[in-house]
């Protein structure tokens, strides 16, 4: 976005409180809303305010949501507020015509934990607060141990959503299970109901609660995080809206993750960016679901840890130091 665009904040009633911190998030949201309003003119706006009073037919450059730079008459420009309601609406509605799926290739996971740090960075979480965690798994004493990244399974029969008393967590048309921390009452019934231990709770003030204060709440990013509410893996639905792969998927250095759309029968590897047929990938590699006997119908597939190119190294100490103590 151009420099001149940034100055639009002057036109914005909320800018007084949000200035600085929220600027980036603000514009990210803006692009979605439509014409990213009053564009560059604002710099001039402050300098030549008197011109406002008389009718003029100046043209200003405006960046549209589809990334076209267009010129519109200055007097046709209207301010748009950072509309949290709008974020809520689009966040609850989801992306039409899609059914997002993730495929996790266990034969490639070396527990690099880059997915975890990328996720925690994006969602403002502490090192021990997980939307996605990588576990050291061993089914039974004589089977081979392996690493298993475990995000939310975004089940099609989600037990966590069923029990929510206030519609704070919900399943969208594209299959993603989201959490609205403006609604959540913190009863933690969903934590009790989730068999995958995929949900977390903000027991204390979230990591960046001071820095995030006053930012418009983006339900698809779940930032700002809030004390006393649930948080969980969102399949990075803010990124999906922009056509980008989730944070964890693109952060993986080992090609573990594939992400895509079941409706298009295609998944794209986050490391190599190569797109594959979902059905082929699952068929050829023996893809499976985690605990299918529970009937949760997950949207995450796993490919078994066979023919691994590296040696499995166990992690001796599976506890993290509590950063606070």
């Amino acid at each position: 976005m151009s420099n001149s665009n940034k100055d639009t904040n002057n036109n914005n009633p909320q800018s007084d409180q949000n200035r600085g911190n929220s600027r980036r998030a603000f514009f990210k949201n803006f692009g979605l809303i439509g014409a990213a309003t009053a564009a560059g003119g604002a710099a001039i706006y402050s300098g030549f305010k008197y011109e406002e009073s008389k009718p003029n037919h100046d043209f200003v450059k405006v960046l549209t949501s589809d990334n076209r730079l267009v010129e519109v008459p200055r007097d046709s420009i209207k301010d748009i507020k950072v509309d949290v309601n709008r974020l809520q609406l689009q966040g609850r509605e989801g992306l039409k015509g899609h059914r997002f799926v993730m495929v996790i290739d266990l034969s490639k996971c070396r527990n690099a934990r880059k997915c975890i740090s990328a996720c925690q960075g994006a969602h403002h979480l502490r090192p021990y607060e997980y939307h996605i965690n990588t576990l050291v798994m061993q089914e039974s004493p004589n089977t081979a141990p392996y690493y298993m990244p475990k995000p939310c399974q975004h089940c099609d029969n989600p037990p966590c959503v069923a029990v929510c008393p206030v519609d704070a967590t919900f399943k969208r048309q594209d299959g993603i299970v989201l959490i609205d921390n403006e609604r959540c009452i913190g009863c933690r019934f969903c934590i009790a109901a989730c068999p995958y231990s995929a949900r977390m709770f903000h027991w204390e003030e979230p990591l960046m609660s001071v820095a995030d204060k006053g930012k418009p709440y983006n339900i698809e990013l779940n930032v700002p995080q809030k004390k006393g509410t649930i948080s969980k893996c969102l399949f990075s639905s803010d990124r999906l809206r922009e056509g980008k792969l989730p944070y964890c998927v693109s952060a993986c250095p080992n090609g573990v993750y594939y992400f895509g759309d079941e409706n298009q029968d295609a998944v794209t590897n986050g490391t190599t960016k190569v797109t594959h047929r979902l059905s082929e990938l699952i068929r050829e590699n023996g893809g499976y679901h985690l605990m299918p006997e529970l009937g949760t119908k997950p949207r995450v597939y796993y490919l078994p840890p066979k023919n691994r190119l590296f040696e499995f190294k166990d992690v001796k100490d599976k506890t993290l130091e509590d950063q606070k103590t």
Binding site: H98, A112, Q173, G243, A266, T272, K273, V274
Partner: protein, 305 residues
Amino acid sequence: MKKRYLSLLLIVLISFRLSAQEWVVPAENGAKLSPFAFSDSTRKAGAVLFQTNCKSCHGDPGKNNAIALVPPPPDPASAKMQGNSDGALFFKLVSGKGPMPSFKNTISSTDLWRVISYIRSFNEKYVQQIAPKSGIAGAAENVKVLLTWSKETNQVQAVISAMKEKRIQPIAGAEVKLFAKRYFGNLLIDEARNTDAQGKAIFNFPKDLPGDSAGFVQLSARLTDDAAFGEAKADTTLAVGVPTYRPPLNEQRAMWNVVQKTPIWLLLAYIFTVLAVWSFIFYVLLQIRAIYKAGINKNQDTIDS
């Protein structure tokens, strides 16, 4: 002390070995040059591509914040990276090795050269050499790709033509790849084909690839060697896919859906039960009122009598 020197020596040796072992670029590939001159616009485009495709491992150029992998991804601004010739960088981007993925099928070679132009912007001493125009491209202009679909054979045909000697002529022997656009990337259809004498390349289209609700799929055909042809590609939407309509996943009434989508039986059972019980409660409350009223009358009766 001696031990320390030894271990230091060992480390130097190992790292030397590692770098010595590293990635040999064939001379032919190493000598390759960009078909176009690097400019601000190519660097800008390259920067965007770098952000989305490279930064997660290589970090920000000049900041040495690459992630720890073995071998470590070099910083693009480092001497190690800049020591590569343009052709060597291009070769490495295309072929990939170990944790470094191949971008052969995901980024066009024009875009790869743009990334290289961005990387070179961190090297002040760099002076670019441009490939001399040659081959078909030298003579051909306005390369065009035409895509058609034959329903009977379920094949997609790409016809490549260009202005040559002031008339439109088919281009033979060019390698073409066909992609179907998907939400996060391009899906390679069939395999790379060379055009025949008529400039035709024929791709077998899978019978089961989902299209939109009418079966339309966005196709993209690309000439592999776009150094020679420029950015020749065609984006066409054809009804080659299986018409696919899948309803929204949250359409049906279910226990897990929002309150507006409560199962009817549950809604009725809940409302009926609550109404039934509470109507009795209100009836009882009315009885208390009746007791109260009866008391007033009775009191009056006693006064009267």
